[in-house]
Symmetry: C2
Subunit: 316 residues, 2 copies
């Protein structure tokens, strides 16, 4: 588990814009569980952070100076040079916000990368379809809470897992048919069995570990698991212990890992459907907001201790 001592807040010299560049004053910064993986020095789908170099990540900000004809002062934009209060970027690394009737910071959460993870993971990777019972872990998180709502918008039965009464109540308010409190002391495998009497057809895994094993224990024939995160193991050197893994044979279970960027060519599908559900009032959000750049490490570390309900954000 990283600590705040692993981070430093450094002043860098301000530099003038080159031709085609823009200066952005960041207003919202994202912290996401996948960033933990980038702190390990291993080859992965994104290169590791480098010690002594700035970290990056999703950000929303306002253009305060422009030498590009694509953006003018005052434009609200999104980009990937987070973990700083000001960014100087070539205009082609900056995107305008999609035109949905929603707060700008939503594009770091439900209407951005975490929301796309929920949408494509549930509907494409797991192939959730009419009649399915969906189980989703970390259901009060940015991804999980969106999985719950997309599944309900599609008319599916949904069981969510979250830690603590407050989070569980929120997940229930999103429409979940049943909610498990994994901090209640009841093993997840038992709690899931009590609410999934007819088993589960889809498991959306943000967590790994005990939740994954419980999903294996209760998976129906031809169940599909979409795995986009294993927050339980990111900071652990212990192996995952699975007692029910062999059920995948008799039940022909499919477990599929995925990364949302595999679907980046299909963002139009996402914005079309999410825009519709937003208009119909079918999407609710929650945000856990830290204030000030110096709180980035605390916000980030809070992800691993269940400190967020909905999307974890830092406002500058």
């Amino acid at each position: 588990m990283p600590t705040s001592d692993n981070f430093a807040l450094i002043d860098l010299d301000r530099r003038d814009l080159g031709e085609g560049e823009v200066r952005i004053a960041n207003s919202w910064l994202s912290v996401d569980p996948y960033m933990r993986g980038r702190m390990n020095d291993v080859k992965s789908y994104t290169p590791p952070f480098e010690i002594g170099k700035p970290m990056d990540g999703g950000a929303i900000g306002t253009v305060v100076e422009s030498r590009s004809d694509r953006f003018k002062e005052g434009d609200t934009v999104q980009h990937f040079a987070g973990w700083r209060d000001e960014a100087v970027l070539p205009a082609d690394q900056v995107q305008p916000l999609p035109e949905l009737d929603v707060d700008p910071q939503a594009y770091l959460g439900q209407l951005g990368m975490p929301g796309m993870t929920a949408y494509f993971g549930l509907l494409e990777v797991a192939g959730a379809k009419e009649g399915d019972t969906v189980f989703v872990s970390a259901a009060a998180g940015a991804v999980g809470s969106t999985v719950v709502q997309i599944a309900k918008a599609k008319g599916l039965r949904v069981i969510g897992s979250a830690g603590g009464a407050e989070k569980c109540a929120w997940v229930e308010s999103l429409g979940a048919d049943a909610v498990i409190d994994y901090k209640s002391g009841t093993p997840v495998v038992k709690a899931l069995g009590e609410v999934a009497r007819n088993g589960i057809d889809v498991y959306f895994d943000n967590v790994g570990g005990e939740h994954l094993d419980a999903a294996l224990a209760h998976a129906n024939l031809h169940a599909r698991f979409a795995v986009c995160g294993m927050i339980d193991v990111y900071n652990s050197s212990k192996p995952t212990e699975l007692r029910y893994l062999a059920r995948l044979i008799g039940n022909r279970i499919r477990i599929q890992g995925f990364i949302v960027s595999d679907f980046k060519d299909r963002s139009a599908d996402f914005y079309r459907d999410m825009g519709g559900w937003l208009k119909d009032g079918k999407l609710k959000r929650n945000e856990t907001v830290f204030e000030g750049l110096e709180t980035m490490p605390a916000a980030f570390l809070g992800l691993f201790s269940g400190g967020n309900m909905g999307k974890m954000l830092v406002r500058l």
Copy 2:
């Protein structure tokens, strides 16, 4: 782990044939790892064996009496009423042997259920294709040895794992590009890393446990795992420990459980391809043969201690 005390050899009264029935003198009986699952009192893809009732399984025999016009005395047939020296069955539960130039007992192994498991698991479930490196565990077993040979017939690179020098030498003689001896004392994850410098694209899992974890550790982007058996865990109450499970996210690994009977409508594809490879001399077999009905429990239990090279059979 079951013991021979769990079995009893019982004399049953001989009964006369009813209309449409045949009497078969069995000559070859099959023991297979999946039978272990049927000894547990749990709902699965095949019903559990019942205590005090005869066990069944694949068998080859000769018709010695017939009241059906589908079979006559002297016909060699296959059926599923194994674990006995004589079977009385309705003719529709008895099949003639396919017409390939091969010993009849091959239809219990490479040209039967285990061979179909290898064929459909490798080519359909894992979707092995040109350029792939295939890793297969229990590569000296009935299924694994056929996976090795089909993969080579398809021009793929194959790494097999087997226990002990004799089995490894045999797997190598089948054409495997590299063989790991999992009994050598080197952890499988290390041994696999040494021979799979460019990783693996397909893992054919007969074993689970340490082999599955090693496959996860070395799986390439978009690797596909076909899982038809986990012989390591059938007799264990310990959980499977996986240290490399989270790699399935970044590498978009797919793990798919399957049962060969899902492909029973496609047996013509299997016999066409296997017949061709047989004619071209691309298929070799090995059989570990016990003699006499009373050896069925010993043959069966031998499957779990690595007692067989190739297909485990009992000859009557």
